[in-house]
């Protein structure tokens, strides 16, 4: 393998005559273009004996399940992701109000075991040379550090972004709910607004605004966030912010029906239950503008509010968009039944999860699908990509769950439709069994117990 042009810079920088605090300055001033080479301190991917280099992009449901189940005797596995942990997304909404703590639903990927610690890269994938079998990335922590990694097999599982549908103000003022950082921002904002509304500003309209939360999007994420928020209001605000309990308002804006993927009866039950809640309003409309302190609906109505949580479908990440593979109209990479990227002749590039779509199958963008695709792909890769021994991917849903608050949930499986408290038990136990590590299986129920015994922690830390 050869150096690329820029490496002269780094050679020049590492001259002993330079004191390393100069280096600090320099290396951030120069753009280091780097390429794995035999002279590098890092592993030499496809020179490592017989093992092939499997490069996995992302640490979400799809990628992480490939990483956990792949045969590491057959492959040298390298992971590139802007996130060094796996996030148990179905419980993310619970962390926005402190029912669960942030670190109780994440798992450091390094715990899952790498052959070398250098095999995980906290970087963004920025480009791909399918010809040369080479991926280009940029360090998350040092944007000037750009380098490339060669691979034998590539798994693209970078997920997707929340779709703003180009509505002005959304990316500046609305909060998404996809990562721990989002949940933390929401939690901080809620607690800040409560504290602020209690301060002597003599301005009731402003207080009403601060205590009004608008949720855009009636999918499971939006509804579960609303449910958790209400549990917080009824169980903790009543106790700790008595004065404001009556003033809190939540408006859920959904252009369609909420939880539309669910069985009609369950869906209707959820709607009824949510509407029963004091200060809760459901509006069938769409948002045309978001500002610092309000949301404007398509009918011109203005809703002053202190927090907007936006969860309305997915949009492709810049990396996915940059790839010139065949895609569907949602911008997802099209694959065949073996998750091989369409019109990639090599057959060494795979895509799964929210960033991909199996042609003529169009599965929902859920954790369940991604995780199953991941396990399938591992088997296929472990088999040496042998089409004779392994059938194409097929998916039979285990069903859907959604928490709707007050210890009630919906369970919608092919076999049964359950609602109410029994379903809530199912919801909790189902997720407990799905948690990926003993650390989480220990911490999550303890957090639930703590919330039950002591209430949620309303300390404002930022």
């Amino acid at each position: 393998m050869m150096y690329s042009a820029h490496v002269k810079v780094s050679q020049f920088l590492s001259r002993p005559c330079w004191s390393s605090n100069h280096l600090g300055v320099m290396s951030s001033r120069f753009m280091l273009q780097w390429r794995y080479s035999s002279s590098s301190p890092n592993p030499k991917p496809n020179v490592s004996g017989k093992r092939k280099m499997l490069l996995i992009l992302g640490t979400g449901w799809g990628s992480y399940s490939v990483f956990k189940t792949i045969d590491k005797k057959l492959y040298d596995v390298m992971v590139v992701s802007p996130r060094n942990h796996f996030l148990f997304t179905p419980l993310l909404a619970s962390t926005t109000v402190g029912t669960l703590e942030f670190r109780s639903i994440i798992e450091p990927v390094r715990n899952a075991g790498f052959r070398e610690s250098g095999h995980f890269h906290l970087s963004y994938a920025t480009g791909l040379d399918a010809e040369k079998q080479e991926l280009f990335c940029t360090s998350v922590l040092n944007p000037d550090l750009k380098y490339s990694i060669p691979y034998d097999k590539l798994v693209i599982g970078v997920g997707a972004l929340t779709n703003t549908f180009g509505v002005p103000g959304v990316s500046d003022y609305a909060f998404f709910l996809k990562e721990i950082a989002d949940a933390r921002r929401i939690r901080t904002r809620i607690l800040s607004n409560f504290e602020l509304a209690l301060q002597p500003n003599n301005d009731l309209a402003e207080n009403e605004r601060l205590l009004h939360v608008v949720i855009v999007g009636g999918g499971p994420t939006g509804v579960e966030f609303g449910a958790e928020l209400y549990d917080f209001i009824e169980q903790d605000v009543a106790r700790l912010y008595r004065k404001m309990q009556g003033q809190v308002k939540v408006t859920l804006v959904e252009s369609n029906k909420i939880l539309s993927a669910f069985d009609a009866r369950l869906q209707g039950y959820a709607e009824k239950k949510l509407k029963e809640r004091k200060g809760f309003e459901m509006i069938q409309s769409s948002v045309v503008e978001v500002t610092k302190d309000m949301v404007r609906l398509s009918n011109g109505k203005i809703i002053p509010c202190g927090l907007v949580v936006w969860s309305t479908g997915l949009a492709p990440r810049p990396f996915t968009a940059s790839l010139d593979f065949k895609k569907n109209k949602m911008g997802q990479i099209l694959t065949d039944g073996y998750l091989r990227v369409k019109d990639d002749s090599s057959g060494n590039i795979f895509a799964l999860g929210d960033c991909a779509d199996i042609e003529d199958m169009s599965l929902p963008c859920t954790a369940q699908v991604a995780e199953r695709e991941g396990r399938f792909l591992s088997q296929f890769l472990n088999s040496g990509c042998d089409e004779k021994t392994s059938k194409p991917f097929s998916f039979q849903s285990l069903g859907m769950l959604a928490y709707i608050g007050r210890y009630e949930a919906l369970t919608d499986t092919p076999q049964m439709k359950i609602k109410g408290v029994p379903s809530w038990f199912l919801w909790r136990s189902a997720y407990l069994t799905r948690l990926g590590s003993w650390r989480l299986r220990m911490q999550v129920p303890l957090d639930w117990l703590k919330t039950l015994l002591f209430g949620r922690d309303i300390s404002r830390l930022e």
Copy 2:
């Protein structure tokens, strides 16, 4: 009570004809000067029947123990603090590497119970009118919101800041270790530097810098942080960042002796133990400059480093400095034996903890002293400030504890000097019994267990 000039603004603002998103904009544009008055939605402090208004500043060891032990039938208690939680500071160092989680050592003050939720103010104290018995404050969350609170009795327990001794660069580049936010910043920086050092930048000098931590100040905070850091390196880095274990370096800079308050034998033991640790260096010198990537010593020596933790004594907060009471040379407010502020004729102003000093006693600035002063002050206030029934404050130290890593600690009490592992048991059990709530008494040992079983969580969340 009368409105002050500015209130016209807020009256004007609250005219119904203004839509409240205007209000949002306006209220942040205008400066609302506010004053409690019978027309306000908030409690009317000293009009609340027979109860006197006790105004407590701060939520640290001193103030919080006053708040918890004061007789709330005798006093209407109001608390003003930039922090809505109490922090168990002796365990703060453990959170910088994840031995304990941040929320496992804090207690929301609202849990301790207020007569009205409006009695806690997330605000800074900015000024005092001792004549009119009135405190001026500014909202933490809305700097334009300035108002005043009248009181009958005032307790000043605002604590202190870390002393930078005017060394250039400290406030910009060094990390302090006083609040949860500090601990989180340190944790994020450590994890970021480890990830960064693993990336293919081909620049060994830069990696050495990233993995070099400089601790300035050899007091308990500095030493315990160093100890926790080393446990992290030996127990987790060895496992998760194998490659770098050998490269990590820690330098402790102290102009005097480390843990100088401790018994000489224990002190010597700690020094010996720390020096044994691979890559650990102790330098007896002082720092004259801190930059983005290095520390300069008084002897001119430059130490390139990726993190500087600064804990070198205390400096008064702006509020304390603004008060024109008699102070000692460290800028602490001088009080008499009943914690009454010297040369305040009214006898209604008390000061305790790190911001105060009992004349001719000069006690150490420790949690133990502050907490004891708090309990004493409550008794005195509960007794109706009766000098006949209550003796002046006296302090007999229970001793000192310090963790030095590898399950070893120092215990220095009048009765006994213990070092090593037995002392570590003592250290942990002592703190367990001191934890202020069952929530913490449950969570802290569980965190210890989790760390023992599963290691520390190295997920980078920011």
